[in-house]
């Protein structure tokens, strides 16, 4: 029997994923060309604002994907995934911050503005090395991964599961939020890090840079999707799903449940960190609000609306909710929080499988009839 190439194997039995990524690829390509080729007056032109918005959604989609990996396939409802996202974002923002150089308000070549403001004389030790993009990018993956590893090590070893684990993850991100809000943490306090100028030598104000970031985000999403698919198609993934459905039974069969959980949890956290690193240069600011329990739980609803345990459902959910959020917060800001609150209730009560569930159900019905 001929071995299929890996990429085809990954997409086997995954029409949904093929469609979603296909559509996204078309959209990204279209936006890229419409932004770069047509001049501002043209009616085919797509504004840089839209490019950036789409890039932001893609970063969020990657974050939702990472959550679906642990929630949909491992049964861990993490209410603290925003923390990994934010940590990745902060790591990359630190690089961007040091790129500003003497173009800050205070014109200090060594120190970012907020440190001058705080009367610091030199860079704190934990900022060392962040002027190197490779190191910063490594840290954007390493720090969330390390946190996930340490947290998961303790939590899974002591067999904290279900709701308890969820609340622990929420407490984790809550604690981090409190810590990052402190000015003397050395991460800019509640103002966060902002006023970025360059990324890897390219100006962030440039349309070309924005488009490049959009494409990078898309590629990162595709890569994250492939990795996730690969994991769940492998034996590892099947064990993970078995853990989700009957943890004790898997343990009694002789599997080291903790190790499986830990591995997938760390992979997911790293993905979230990368998403954060992509988010920061496009949005242009990062502050401790990303650590807020509200953000983390909001992203749970993205996954829930899209349909958990399908991967591509998470991407759909992230796009729909964030688009709605962008639309409502400018058009009807009062309504948005009602709508969001209502979504939580309606989805859990009436749409346990999310949007993907509706589509699939109708297909099954037509197939039967």
């Amino acid at each position: 029997m001929k071995r299929k190439p890996m990429i085809l194997k990954i997409f086997e039995n995954d029409r949904g994923g093929q469609i979603v990524l296909g559509v996204l690829a078309v959209v990204v390509l279209y936006v890229t060309f419409a932004n770069l080729l047509f001049s501002e007056g043209s009616f085919l032109h797509i504004s840089t604002y839209t490019v950036t918005l789409l890039g932001k959604y893609l970063a969020f989609a990657l974050l939702a994907l990472s959550l679906d990996l642990v929630w949909g396939y491992l049964g861990i409802l993490s209410l603290g995934h925003g923390a990994f996202f934010a940590l990745g974002g902060y790591a990359w923002a630190m690089y961007l911050m040091l790129q500003i150089g003497d173009r800050g308000v205070y014109g200090n070549a060594e120190l970012p503005d907020f440190m001058v403001f705080m009367n610091l004389q030199e860079l704190p030790w934990f900022w060392y090395g962040f002027e190197y993009p490779l190191f910063a990018f490594f840290m954007a993956m390493f720090v969330p991964g390390l946190l996930a590893f340490v947290f998961g090590w303790f939590a899974f070893k002591s067999r904290v599961t279900g709701v308890y684990l969820s609340i622990m993850t929420q407490a984790l991100t809550y604690a981090l939020m409190l810590a990052f809000f402190r000015n003397d943490m050395g991460f800019g306090g509640n103002n966060g890090l902002t006023d970025f100028k360059d990324i890897l030598g390219f100006s962030l104000q440039d349309d070309g840079t924005r488009v490049l970031l959009l494409i990078l985000s898309f590629l990162a999403l595709v890569l994250g999707y492939l990795i996730s698919r690969y994991i769940i198609n492998s034996r590892l993934g099947r064990v993970a799903m078995a853990i989700r459905d009957g943890e004790s039974r898997v343990r009694f069969l002789g599997y080291r449940v903790e190790s499986f959980k830990l591995f997938i949890f760390v992979v997911s956290a790293v993905m979230a960190g990368v998403a954060g690193a992509l988010y920061v240069p496009q949005v242009g600011i990062i502050n401790p609000n990303l650590f807020s329990p509200l953000f983390s739980i909001e992203l749970v609803i993205w996954v829930a609306i899209g349909g958990r345990g399908t991967l591509y459902g998470a991407i759909i959910g992230a796009f729909i909710v964030n688009y709605a959020s962008t639309y409502f917060t400018s058009a009807l800001p009062e309504v948005w929080l009602y709508a969001l609150g209502g979504l939580f209730v309606v989805v859990t009560l009436y749409l346990p499988k999310g949007i993907v569930g509706i589509v699939k159900k109708e297909k099954n019905v037509t197939a039967v009839s």
Binding site: I167, A171, A179, P293, Y338, G341, F344, V345, T348, P352
Partner: protein, 518 residues
């Protein structure tokens, strides 16, 4: 006849001269020189210490409310003109000029006023003025203090006088007096005593050793009292946590329902207290008492509605319950923002809850915290009795332990579920009323407590009310003891980490429920 006339005349003369004297003696206050005014004040105090008018005069002068015309002195406050006896006068306020004071003059007046107050009939006033004297001691205060000591009947005021006397003697007495005074000062606590002793210690000599001994004694008792104070603060925070967590101990601990909208139930209770104060602005003193049962009802009804509409459909699916109730919490917050405002509101504290219970100069317990501690424990007892002794409690426990069997025995399980959830939410509402006395009321009030209360319940052991009590109090205490060392935020982080580690060792909390695992 002649004699009578004479007496009448003399009397007239005497009384005339008495009042005329006061009226004439205060005339120099209109002069521009502050020094002259000061001398006048001194003279007035020594001469008319029994005269009520002097009191009014000095007080008005201190507050910048004393005005004069060519004829008379008046108090002008909020556009109302009164004379020195407090009677209203119909005058055009434009003819009056202000009696100007400067800082030095005001401090002199303040001192003299507190001396006058030393002989007031009101113990509270005497107490305050004795403290005032103690913090502004002068060499020539000794006779005054001795006079006051003879006059004084209240022991706590007497103590302050004794302390002042000892401080003065330690400073200005002869050697023997100094020696005794320095030794005596070791029994007192005030910062003033400590300061005098430190000065004497610095001077060296024989007294220095005695002084260091007394300082050591003062400092050890002060640190003991500050330890007590920390315990009190911890207890206070623990009782707030207890109030917040008790409702959760029922909905989460007994019913196993994760209610993320629990904090919002507290918020609703707090807003109930706020609304009542808005409706009855004249009843601030009693509104809080009215708010407690009402908040219980309002939050309870919200709880029942939520249970019937949403949670009922999600039993046995904890993660979904968590998400749905979180959505509800967002809805309720937004509702409050729409109805009231996104801004924080202030709920006023009634008179009987403000102020502090002063045990001594090193330890003062604020009444609102004191009442909340007592209140929390009362509520705890109430919940305990309700669950353990009432027939409703029996049914609640029956349903949560074995739903099918309870149903078979004829208990309406759906009804019990709704009532239990309502009670849990109602208690949260009551907790909200208590919170409204400590902080401002805002849409985010509940959010700050939700994580903490879950921590308490998990730490104490799910399904165990005593565990919740111990958990709340110990977390409050730990927090308050770490806070001075690490700062408020770091203390919180440390506690979260502590609990995460604690759950490692004892996943079922401090007091696990005995029995079979599900």
């Amino acid at each position: 006849m002649q004699k009578i006339l004479q007496i009448a005349f003399l009397n007239l003369l005497f009384s005339f001269s008495l009042f005329a004297n006061f009226e004439t003696d205060i005339k120099p206050l209109t002069e521009n020189s502050f020094l002259k005014k000061e001398n006048t004040v001194e003279k007035l105090v020594s001469k008319y210490s029994e005269n009520e008018k002097l009191h009014t005069l000095l007080k008005a002068m201190l507050d910048g409310e004393l005005y004069y015309s060519r004829k008379e002195f008046v108090v002008l406050k909020d556009d109302e003109v009164t004379n020195l006896l407090g009677e209203k006068l119909e005058r055009n306020r434009k003819i009056f000029k202000k009696v100007k004071t400067n800082n030095k003059l005001r401090s002199v007046i303040r001192n003299r006023l507190s001396q006058l107050n030393l002989f007031s009939k009101d113990v509270e006033i005497r107490f305050e003025s004795a403290k005032n004297i103690r913090s502004n001691l002068e060499k020539d205060s000794i006779p005054l203090i001795e006079k006051a000591l003879k006059f004084e009947t209240d022991s706590s005021v007497k103590d302050i006088h004794l302390e002042s006397e000892a401080i003065l003697k330690a400073r200005f007495g002869n050697f023997e007096e100094k020696k005794i005074a320095v030794q005596n000062l070791g029994d007192f606590l005030s910062p003033e005593a400590l300061q005098v002793l430190k000065e004497i210690e610095a001077e060296g000599g024989e007294l220095s050793k005695l002084a260091s001994k007394s300082i050591a004694s003062i400092e050890s008792s002060r640190s003991f009292f500050s330890f007590l104070e920390t315990i009190f603060f911890g207890l206070s925070q623990g009782s707030v946590l207890l109030l917040a967590a008790m409702g959760l101990a029922i909905t989460f601990g007994v019913m196993k329902v994760i209610n993320m909208a629990h904090g919002e139930m507290m918020m609703i209770g707090a807003y109930t207290a706020f609304t009542i104060q808005q409706i009855f602005p004249n009843l601030i003193e009693y509104s809080i008492l009215l708010a407690i049962p009402l908040a219980f009802l309002v939050s309870g009804i919200f709880g029942v509605i939520i249970e019937r509409l949403v949670i009922k459909h999600l039993y046995g699916r904890p993660l979904e319950t968590l998400l749905a109730t979180f959505g509800i919490s967002l809805l309720l917050q937004q509702l409050v923002r729409t109805i009231y405002s996104p801004l924080n509101q202030n709920v006023e504290t009634p008179e009987w809850m403000s102020g502090a219970l002063e045990i001594n100069s090193a330890l003062a317990l604020t009444y609102n915290r004191l009442y909340i501690i007592i209140f929390a424990f009362l509520v705890f007892l109430g919940v305990l009795l309700l669950l353990k002794k009432s027939s409703l409690g029996l049914k609640v426990r029956a349903v949560t332990q074995n739903r099918e069997m309870a149903k078979a025995m004829g208990i309406k399980t759906g009804y019990i579920d709704a009532i239990t959830f309502g009670i849990g939410s109602g208690i949260a509402g009551v907790a909200g009323v208590a919170l409204s006395q400590l902080t401002n009321v805002g849409p985010n009030l509940g959010q700050a407590y939700i994580v903490d209360s879950f921590m308490v319940v998990v730490f104490g052991g799910v399904g165990n009310l005593w565990g919740t009590l111990i958990g709340a109090v110990s977390l409050g205490e730990i927090n308050k003891f770490i806070e001075p060392v690490a700062g408020a935020v770091l203390a919180k982080v440390i506690i979260l980490i502590f609990i995460i580690l604690f759950i490692q060792k004892r996943p079922k909390g401090l007091f696990p429920q005995k029995g079979r695992e599900e």
